[in-house]
């Protein structure tokens, strides 16, 4: 079982009210000098091998549903076993 990650972000030139709210809240809490843009991350468990065809299919899925490409961009990446394992461990 492999995992494919789709990261969706508001396009850089598009206003990101959520990120702006988080930025403001961080400042009020004393975390200075941090500018936040907020996106979303989809972790997709894929049956079988992650082939190029499979990735193309996921890109199509991202374009169709996961991202609103009028105002958002997305990036598709394959998560390796090591990355997945590292994520599962406490920091």
């Amino acid at each position: 079982m492999a995992r494919v990650v789709v990261d969706v972000m508001p396009k850089p030139e598009i206003l990101d009210p959520q990120g702006k709210a988080v930025t403001g809240a961080l400042q009020r809490l004393g975390f200075a000098g941090l500018a936040v843009r907020q996106g979303k991350r989809f972790e997709i468990e894929v049956d079988g091998e992650v082939t190029d065809e499979r990735l193309d299919e996921i890109r199509r899925a991202a374009e169709t549903l996961l991202a609103n490409t009028v105002i958002e961009t997305f990036a598709v990446s394959v998560e390796t076993q090591e990355q997945a394992a590292a994520q599962g461990q406490p920091a």
Binding site: E13, I14, L15, P17, A21, G24, V70, I71
Partner: protein, 753 residues
């Protein structure tokens, strides 16, 4: 390096992308003539956007002037501000004034339905705010493609969520509007937004920059690359080829920022630290600076590099054209600047002094010390191109008008009538719209007196005196196609009647004229006819047009939308507790029809739903009768004569009875007139008719009053029992449960929700 004025003078032959920016060859040459040199790319950006159809009204200006011929008096007082200001302002007495306006946000709402609709609401709210008024309500006339078209399933929920999301977050009640489906809107939905605001007479603010030395302050959100579309051509070609080649043409709104902007602006007004003010709509800083400067007595100098940016890579052209939302520009006396900035800080609103008013009549914009714009602001804002577009009655108009409903099969007998009543009630345009309106907050602020599904929205203005205003928007595009002159008047008459049935006196008009391409002589003819109709209609009714908006190029391919001149009418009611609602209220009440029913089925909902037919001539209109009818209704509200009053429009009496019954789940028992086809009585869409209910013992009084106003009355029957039936005696009966089920199912079924 920026393309400075000096550089432009030295490089007269440099190629410029005027065509890509939407300018015509002769327009580009005119700019060169005005300036005596080639424009800098920043100037080209400003001219191209300000001379666009959207900002300059270049195709409509010569026709819109006719609205100026109308008297600037309403039935309750004079206009405090009229066409040309951000919004018209009407004196409603007791020291109060109201301002209202409708605008379109059609094209952005097709590209990105949620944000397009949301920013449409945001834009019209800032227009109202810029007049010095507190926005107190919104309304949204919407048009979509067929309910069962696949794209409608994308556009409709997105638009409705956007309207609701933005308006609800702002805390503004949505008082009504329209939801209409027609195949002509399939690739081009219409999202019109109306806002109404209230102010005291002394708080009126106008958009002008006066007094040399006064400071120009930009406040609200930072400027980003939203909605600059075309300007990126300039930036990427003349500067940095590595930039994203296509900036998005949509904007994302932030209603919480807008809420802060509203409260902040109202406090600035109250502190009397604002000399002039302008909201940012289309064309952003280009528009605000040139309009403020052009309306004032001097010029303006702006340092563009002081504008706070969300994206530091923006070029000056892009900053000038950015349509980032939630921004305003104010002109402030130097001594008031500190106080101004302090109030902005209190509301967490970013405010920056970006320039000052000058005495030389020029708009000069610098970028890091170098001049990139040096123009006469009037040439940008007011003296743009004006076109006398050719217009001609299309050849097909006669053919359409000759194809009436005479040959269509009419239902006979109770079973057929019953079936067609139910099919109409369940049709997309006549079915229950609560799936839409339930996503809007209609009671926030606590002053909503009437809202959807009532005929008009009504809000209380003063809690003590109970003064209020009512608003309705209407347009039947099918009628406007059959006869644009009469169609526009029918829209006006329907909105006027919808306000009057609530008990408010109709006083003023705002319109949103949605049409196809002005370069098509047939569309231009529809447009000129609609304006002629509105001007004549408003003159007859004594209601001035206080402002509005024109939206052209609404078409899919070469197929234009139905001509859609949406008309909003505002009325005043002295005591909102005397309002008349639309639904039957008490079992046993008498049901009476005001007005006269003729055999008028062309362009009707019946022809469309049952036969998919559109042709013939729209119903006739008697504006004198409409006025007398309105007087009767307003007087009846004052004396508490009526328990309900409901306008007859699409679907005729059949639909009006269904809606009046379903409002409070009360049946009705109707006896139709002998000797007149029951089908005509039920489905005709003759104008000037209202369905009323009242206590039996006051019917004589109604008949006397109606006779005094020369309004015919027909006794129809009685209001029935709770949970009863819709009964047409001797013909058919529909239990209310069945009626309601058919009425409510349509939209949820189509959207699968």
């Amino acid at each position: 390096m920026a393309d400075t004025v000096q550089h432009a003078a030295e490089t007269p032959d440099q190629e410029q992308p005027w065509a890509e920016l939407g300018l015509r060859g002769e327009e580009y040459h005119r700019i060169r003539e005005i300036l005596g040199r080639r424009p800098t790319s920043a100037e080209l950006a400003m001219y191209s956007v300000m001379w666009s159809e959207h900002c300059s009204y270049k195709s409509s200006k010569v026709h819109l002037r006719r609205f100026g011929e109308l008297s600037q008096e309403t039935p309750v007082g004079k206009l405090l501000a009229g066409i040309g200001e951000n919004a018209g302002v009407i004196d409603i007495g007791q020291g109060y004034a109201v301002t209202f306006k409708i605008e379109s946000h059609n094209h952005p709402s097709y590209v990105e339905p949620y944000q397009g609709a949301a920013t449409g609401v945001g834009g019209i709210v800032r227009d109202i705010l810029a007049m010095g008024a507190r926005p107190v309500g919104v309304m949204d006339p919407l048009r979509f493609g067929p309910l069962d078209a696949p794209d409608t399933a994308r556009v409709l929920p997105g638009v409705v969520a956007g309207v609701g999301g933005y308006g609800n977050c702002l805390g503004l009640p949505n008082l009504g509007g329209e939801v209409v489906f027609d195949r002509s809107y399939a690739g081009n939905p219409l999202v019109n937004a109306l806002c109404v605001g209230v102010l005291r007479h002394e708080d009126l603010h106008l958009a002008k920059a006066t007094g040399a030395g006064n400071k120009v302050i930009l406040y609200g959100a930072a400027t980003g690359g939203d909605g600059i579309g075309g300007a990126s051509i300039l930036a990427s070609e003349s500067f940095d080829a590595t930039k994203p080649s296509k900036r998005p043409s949509v904007q994302v709104g932030d209603p919480f920022m807008e809420k802060l902007l509203i409260e902040c602006t109202l406090e600035l007004f109250a502190a009397r630290v604002v000399t002039g003010i302008q909201d940012f709509g289309a064309a952003g800083i280009s528009c605000a600076t040139s309009e403020l400067a052009a309306a004032g007595d001097g010029g303006m100098h702006v340092d563009l590099d002081l504008v706070p940016l969300r994206d530091p890579t923006l070029a000056p052209e892009e900053i000038l054209m950015s349509e980032s939302q939630e921004r305003m520009m104010a002109v402030v006396e130097p001594g008031d600047v500190d106080r101004f900035l302090e109030i902005c800080r209190k509301w967490d609103v970013l405010a920056t002094v970006v320039g000052e008013v000058t005495g030389d009549g020029r708009l000069v914009i610098d970028w890091h010390g170098e001049t990139v714009v040096d123009v006469d602001p009037r040439t940008v804002a007011h003296e743009g191109p004006v076109y006398e577009r050719p217009y001609a009655r299309p050849g097909w108009q006669d053919e359409v008008q000759s194809r009436g409903t005479g040959g269509l099969r009419r239902p006979t007998g109770g079973d057929e009538l019953r079936d067609e009543v139910l099919r109409l009630v369940a049709s997309p345009n006549l079915c229950d719209k609560s799936w839409v309106t339930d996503q809007y907050d209609r009671y926030v602020r606590g002053n909503s007196v009437l809202a959807q599904p009532e005929d008009a929205g009504m809000i209380r203005i003063d809690e003590d005196t109970r003064l209020g205003v009512a608003l309705a928007t209407d347009c039947n595009g099918k009628f406007a196609l059959l006869d644009p002159y009469l169609g526009a008047q029918l829209a006006l008459a329907e909105a006027y009647r919808n306000v009057a049935v609530s008990g408010a006196r109709p006083v003023a008009v705002s319109d949103c004229l949605n049409f196809g391409s002005p370069e098509d002589p047939a569309v231009m003819w529809q447009f000129t006819e609609a304006i002629r109709g509105l001007v004549d209609g408003c003159r007859a009714l004594g209601t001035p047009v206080t402002g509005g908006n024109v939206s052209f190029y609404n078409q899919t391919g070469t197929t234009a939308i139905l001509p859609t001149p949406v008309v909003g009418v505002l009325g005043v009611i002295d005591d909102v507790t005397s309002r008349t609602p639309m639904g039957f209220a008490v079992p046993g009440d008498a049901v009476v029809l005001l007005g006269e029913t003729r055999d008028e089925l062309d362009g009707s909902a019946w022809a469309s739903v049952i036969h998919d037919h559109l042709g013939g001539r729209p119903p006739s209109l008697d504006l004198d009768h409409e006025q007398r009818l309105a007087e009767l209704l307003v007087g009846a509200a004052r004396t508490g004569l009526l328990r309900s009053a409901h306008d007859l429009s699409d679907g005729g009496l059949a639909q009006a009875l269904a809606e009046a019954c379903l409002r409070h789940d009360l049946g009705v028992d109707v006896v139709l007139r002998e000797g007149v086809d029951p089908f005509v009585q039920l489905f005709s869409e003759s104008t000037g008719r209202v369905l009323v209910s009242l206590p039996e013992d006051r019917v004589d009084e109604l008949e006397r009053t109606a006779a005094a106003h020369q309004v015919p009355t027909t006794r129809l029957g009685r209001v029935g029992e709770r949970g009863g039936a819709y009964v047409v005696s001797g013909s058919f009966s529909i239990p209310l449960d069945e009626l309601r089920a058919r009425w409510q199912a349509t939209i949820p079924e189509a959207l699968g929700v």
